[in-house]
């Protein structure tokens, strides 16, 4: 979880509004960084760096234009800076065109959909068979701990990967259906 620490005068109404705005957009900003850097272990670090820059530049936000594109622009730059530094060490080279295309596609998402998706996901997870739920939790509990998962679930590494893919696919479809039932867009 990203913790936002800000220094502000409690009497500053504008600062309080800005903090509320920044907090409200945390899931969306995290979603942008995660989409541009899929599976990265550094998403929270990049998000924290983004928050610092957004806070430092808060005076340049005039409050008139939309917050989201302004904050997204800062996040995109942070991701590009990170990637320019990291890509030499990575097995797969994410092209600049890919990063831009994903960021552009993310731009049209609505933050309230993210909240609905979170609720839908919690419900969908409860519907999973016990073993599937424990397996998907274990996948996200310790992404590096493949050996321990192999031992715990008595499956081979390849079987764990295949089964995890199936569970994710089910969860995705479940979330999609629930959002549609609720009348929202996905």
């Amino acid at each position: 979880m990203v913790v936002i620490i800000v220094e502000t005068s409690p009497s500053s109404e504008n600062s309080a509004d800005f903090i509320r705005l920044l907090t409200a957009y945390q899931p969306a900003l995290r979603g942008l960084v995660a989409a541009m850097l899929p599976g990265s272990q550094d998403i929270d670090d990049i998000l924290q760096d983004t928050n610092v820059v957004i806070w430092e530049k808060r005076n340049s936000y005039d409050g008139e234009a939309e917050f989201k594109p302004w904050a997204y622009g800062i996040a995109r730059n942070k991701v590009r800076q990170y990637w320019a530094h990291k890509k030499q060490q990575m097995c797969v080279n994410l092209s600049d065109e890919f990063l831009d295309a994903v960021a552009d596609a993310r731009q049209i998402d609505h933050s309230d959909d993210f909240s609905k998706k979170r609720v839908a996901l919690t419900q969908c997870l409860e519907q999973l068979k016990l073993r599937d739920r424990e397996l998907i939790y274990a996948c996200y509990e310790a992404r590096e701990g493949l050996d321990s998962r192999v031992r715990k679930f008595e499956l081979t590494a390849a079987s764990i990967r295949v089964t995890t893919h199936r569970i994710r696919k089910k969860l995705r479809k479940c979330v999609e259906r629930r959002i549609l039932w609720q009348g929202g867009g996905v």
Partner: protein
């Protein structure tokens, strides 16, 4: 792009299990198809939300409970619930769950992983598109995996594990029956999977609780090697001999139906999946087809079996007079096939005697040449091997051939350009002296991707000699 393939690529990208080629394909699809981009965003959102879900879960739980304890408690609860299954509530729950999930959580019969750089295709009895299924990396009854290069690890749901070195062609006949058309396969069978069978065109190998290897090839007789425990082997040919083979023993499956004793060769079998790309053999010759494809300078002969010149016979080590040793793609010595070899020079011939052939090389790859050599009658012979592309050459120095004893050598070539390189072996005019020849056998050229090192570590590619 088919939806199943798209989703598999996306998930592998999230899991960090995608190659650059696969990513490039996915990249193009996402940027050209809005619906595919929407699917991608849905998956990264799911991944993102799962991370947040787990963080929240930790926060609510207060302390982390070991997963084993949770599973044990929940298994006990499930048993109690099952015993109370008369309740309509349970039925309604099942119906409710059906709205979201269909029970398909059984692991596949066989899942597989490949080493980096492996080239394979997979077809299924029911699938129409082999390419799509390549990314699922699982096999069911009737699935066939053909591997032109690389190594694959098979994990059966029964617990059987296998490492197969390509080129290979396997088909899953039943849950516990694998057909090995060709390839080098190692198997570990746990106790609960005893009875697991491997079939080749010439043999049926039934595991009786053990670790064993099977070699099947179009160029040689099938072999079964037992490392631990025992297996039953039935020869499918005429005489149909059957035998239980115990640990530390091996058999060749004869064409007439017998099982012939052969030395156990542990080194021929891989027991784990390589984490690096293994070299690929781009050229090899054991001279069993009388030297076709080689250009000759001076006097060169291609011989099979015993070396007999003017009623003289040299006694090199190995069966007949050929090299009993060949090389795999990594330069490891393995058993040779056939009994052919090449003889350069003869009987005081003063001119240089040489053979050469062309090999296609590519920039960005390195090429290692392995070969075996010996001198007949004396140790006066010297051999020089080289690989040349334009002005670029790598060569051994003049290697002195031992008398009547095969020796191995190798050298490395890293071309700066692509093209047809000339592989050459010559006796450098050393065939002087009575009845003296230079023998060459077991030539292998293996290539791998060349990763450039820093200038400090760079080696000189013009003159390199290894032995």
């Amino acid at each position: 792009m088919k939806q199943e393939l798209l989703e598999s690529l996306i998930q592998n990208l999230i899991d960090g299990a995608l190659t650059q080629d696969q990513f490039d394909r996915l990249d193009f699809e996402l940027r050209s198809t809005p619906a595919s981009m929407a699917t991608y965003l849905a998956y990264v959102d799911l991944d993102n939300m799962m991370v947040l879900e787990l963080e929240e879960r930790h926060h609510n739980l207060g302390s982390v409970v070991p997963i084993e304890r949770i599973i044990r408690r929940q298994k006990r609860r499930m048993l109690r619930t099952a015993l109370l299954a008369a309740a309509a509530v349970v039925l309604l729950s099942l119906i409710g769950m059906q709205l979201f999930f269909i029970d398909t959580t059984l692991p596949p019969t066989l899942a597989f992983q490949t080493s980096p750089g492996t080239h394979f295709t997979i077809t299924h009895a029911k699938a129409a598109d082999a390419e799509d299924q390549s990314f699922s990396q699982q096999m069911e009854k009737g699935s066939r995996l053909q591997m032109s290069h690389g190594v694959v690890e098979l994990s059966f749901s029964s617990g059987v594990k296998s490492i197969i070195t390509g080129p290979a062609d396997i088909t899953l006949h039943e849950d516990d029956v694998l057909f090995l058309n060709h390839g080098i396969a190692w198997f570990h069978v746990p106790e609960n999977a005893i009875g697991f069978q491997v079939k080749t065109r010439n043999a049926v190998v039934t595991d009786l609780g053990t670790e064993f290897g099977v070699i099947s090839s179009n160029d040689r007789l099938d072999e079964v090697h037992v490392f631990d425990g025992k297996v039953e082997v039935v020869n499918r040919n005429s005489l149909r001999h059957k035998e239980v083979i115990t640990a530390k023993h091996a058999r060749i499956v004869g064409a007439a139906g017998r099982l012939k004793v052969t030395p156990l060769r542990v080194a021929d079998f891989r027991k784990s999946l390589p984490t690096h790309d293994i070299p690929m053999i781009v050229f090899q010759d054991q001279f069993n087809s009388e030297g076709s494809g080689w250009e000759i300078e001076g006097k060169v002969r291609f011989v099979s079996g015993a070396y007999e010149v003017d009623s003289c016979r040299i006694n090199t080590d190995g069966e007949d007079d050929h090299s009993g040793v060949h090389f795999n793609s990594e330069g490891r010595e393995i058993s040779a096939l056939g009994n052919g070899y090449m003889v350069l020079g003869h009987d005081s011939r003063p001119a240089v005697n040489a053979v050469s052939t062309k090999i296609l090389v590519k920039r960005g790859k390195s090429y290692t040449v392995y070969f075996r050599y010996t001198g007949s009658h004396n140790s006066a012979h010297r051999v020089t091997a080289s690989l040349t592309l334009g002005a670029e050459t790598s060569r051994t120095g003049e290697l002195q051939a031992p008398e009547a004893s095969w020796k191995s050598a190798s050298f490395l070539f890293i071309p700066e350009a692509s093209g047809e390189a000339i592989l050459k072996f010559e006796d450098t005019g050393s065939s002087q002296g009575a009845k003296a020849d230079l023998l060459i056998d077991s030539v292998v050229v293996a290539s791998r991707l060349h990763h450039k090192r820093s200038p400090v570590d760079a080696t000189d590619s013009d003159q390199r000699q290894q032995e």
